[in-house]
């Protein structure tokens, strides 16, 4: 039952080695300089306090972030955060939201491991140090003749 080390090693997959937030990944947007680059139109004076949240970008979306795996932001709510991410990485927009601007049906957002829908969804106000995860939900699909 021994498990070869190579199986436990992510590098064995042939995929690029994983990076963690704060790593020097050679990314175009250094993670330690979030404040200048994160100010957006959604940014209001009243929420302008020292607050930093970290957003983990799933592999599928990293081609729109120049390979950046996690970014630091300072938005107060999820709608603001999406705007902030899209301001920095415009190409990500249509992949995260549908035509009506809503987060796509099969995208789940977690804050510190909790589904944001349990925290109030769009109403939830981020706290300093929050870690936000974007995870595509894994569904099996359905026959084409249902769900219109």
């Amino acid at each position: 039952m021994s498990l070869g080390k190579e199986l436990l090693s992510p590098e064995a997959s042939g995929a690029e080695a994983p990076h963690v937030a704060g790593d020097d990944t050679g990314a175009k947007v250094p993670a330690d300089k979030p404040k200048e680059s994160c100010v957006t139109g959604f940014w209001s004076q009243e929420t302008k306090i020292e607050m930093k949240i970290t957003v983990d970008i799933p592999t599928a979306l990293r081609r729109f972030t120049g390979g950046v795996q996690s970014i630091e932001c300072s938005s107060a709510t999820l709608p603001e955060l999406l705007g902030e991410i899209e301001q920095r990485f415009p190409a990500i927009n249509k992949h995260l939201r549908d035509d009506s601007g809503q987060v796509r049906r099969f995208v789940n957002i977690y804050v510190n491991e909790e589904d944001i829908r349990f925290l109030g969804g769009n109403e939830y106000r981020f706290r300093d140090g929050d870690r936000v995860l974007v995870v595509p939900s894994i569904a099996g699909g359905a026959p084409a003749d249902a769900c219109g």
Binding site: P10, D115, S137, A139, A142, D145, A146
Partner: protein
């Protein structure tokens, strides 16, 4: 490669060929196996199916299997039994049980999906297979991985029933208990699957895996003599089985194996974890995730991946959804056992009791052909019902003692 199936995005339609992936990079929507139905027309015939083995591999023509694959595990093709006694109690004259409580090798319908998933895992070169599970899938992956020579890493909520824990460990699988509910386990597995080159049957292999559920529908149709029932009642956890039963019926109709019929599809959930039945009953265009609180742990998925599709399928079919509370599902287990001699787990208690409600509500007609899908075995969740019974004191092995014992018992029964 002249393969007759490939991955297709359910929402944007992008084709992905065949690889270990479960969502579309363009719109992050689920991928579905799409078949070349014209190619299937010649080989997926009643004649070819009937000439096949008496297990799910008889339906290989519409399963996403590697070229030249020969399935050797005799899983599936479980009994479809008429249930006249249960039917009489519920007021339904044409009731059937599809009994996956005796599916080989681990006594749940998950044996089907795992059989198909491991064929894909082999094809894509994985040495380790894995899953997040509420228990039945854990057992199925562990058993079949042992047989097929994969290492297995199994992730479960820590509070699973003991039978499902031991029933995973016994096969030599690595069992990782997570201090959290299934939805948290599942989210973690999504993250792990990005970093580890493992074949997660219900993450990166999910489109292949889920197709195995179609065999439940194929079997129902074939065992009814190549016709479709009027209604099916299906338990819902992640919501995949119900969608795939619908897909199987659509395929049989499209290929002319059965006469066209609009089968009403009914979903069953536990009241303590009922995001899909709640969505159907409130006519929502989405579902609201829940924190599971039910003894039906195999159905305790509060954020069901296929929940949206499941509610669409139910509505579109003209069916309905209902749920059963914990005390009701226990009564459901007892009802099925006492009437038909089938001991099902908590999920089957839910399905049985929901069937009762649907008949009482008039959603299911008394003389329609109705198939109730029982998906797991009662020996795995024995604690759910054991407290309903008391043990008589042990008596001495002497005839006179027994005669006295039975006299007391007859008096006690008469007195009640």
């Amino acid at each position: 490669m002249g393969e007759y199936y490939q991955l297709k995005c359910r929402e944007c339609g992008k084709l992905w060929g065949n690889e270990a992936r479960s969502f579309c990079d363009e719109c992050l929507s689920p991928l579905e196996i799409s078949y070349d139905m014209e190619a299937a027309r010649g080989k997926f015939t009643r004649k070819n199916i009937e000439a096949g083995p008496t297990n799910l591999w008889r339906y290989s023509g519409l399963l996403p299997l590697p070229e030249g694959f020969q399935g050797t595990l005799p899983t599936g093709f479980t009994p479809l039994v008429k249930a006249p006694h249960l039917g009489k109690r519920l007021g339904a004259s044409n009731l059937y049980i599809k009994n996956d409580a005796v599916c080989f090798p681990t006594l749940s319908f998950k044996d089907r999906v795992v059989a198909v998933a491991l064929a894909a895992a082999r094809r894509f070169g994985f040495k380790v297979v894995s899953c997040s599970s509420t228990g039945n899938l854990a057992n199925a992956v562990a058993a079949q991985a042992a047989r097929e020579g994969f290492d297995a890493w199994i992730f479960v909520p820590a509070d699973l029933e003991p039978a499902k824990i031991t029933g995973t460990q016994v096969f030599g699988a690595h069992l990782v208990r997570i201090a959290g509910n299934y939805d948290q386990v599942n989210r973690l597995c999504s993250q792990i699957s990005e970093k580890f080159h493992w074949g997660f049957v219900n993450v990166n292999l999910r489109p292949y895996y889920a197709e195995g559920s179609k065999t439940v529908g194929y079997e129902i149709a074939e065992q009814l003599g190549w016709r479709l029932p009027d209604n099916v009642v299906v338990p819902m956890a992640g919501g995949s089985l119900i969608s795939k039963i619908r897909k199987s019926f659509s395929e049989l109709i499209a290929l002319g194996l059965v006469e066209e019929k609009k089968v009403k599809i009914f979903g069953a959930q536990a009241t303590g974890c009922s995001p899909i039945s709640d969505s159907v009953k409130r006519n929502l265009d989405h579902f609201e995730p829940q924190k599971p609180a039910t003894i039906a742990r195999s159905l305790a998925i509060g954020n069901p991946a296929d929940g949206y599709y499941a509610s669409c399928v139910i509505r579109d079919s003209g069916g309905w959804a209902e749920d059963a509370s914990d005390p009701e599902l226990v009564k459901g287990i007892q009802l099925l056992a006492e009437t038909e001699g089938i001991f099902t787990e908590t999920a089957g208690g839910v399905t049985t009791w929901v069937t009762k409600k649907l008949i009482e509500q008039g959603h299911i007609g008394p003389h329609e052909t109705t198939v109730v899908c029982i998906t797991g075995n009662g020996l795995k969740t024995i604690d759910a019902v054991s407290q309903e019974y008391t043990l008589s004191p042990a008596i001495e092995p002497r005839l006179a003692v027994f005669e006295s014992f039975i006299n007391d018992r007859v008096v006690a029964i008469a007195g009640n």
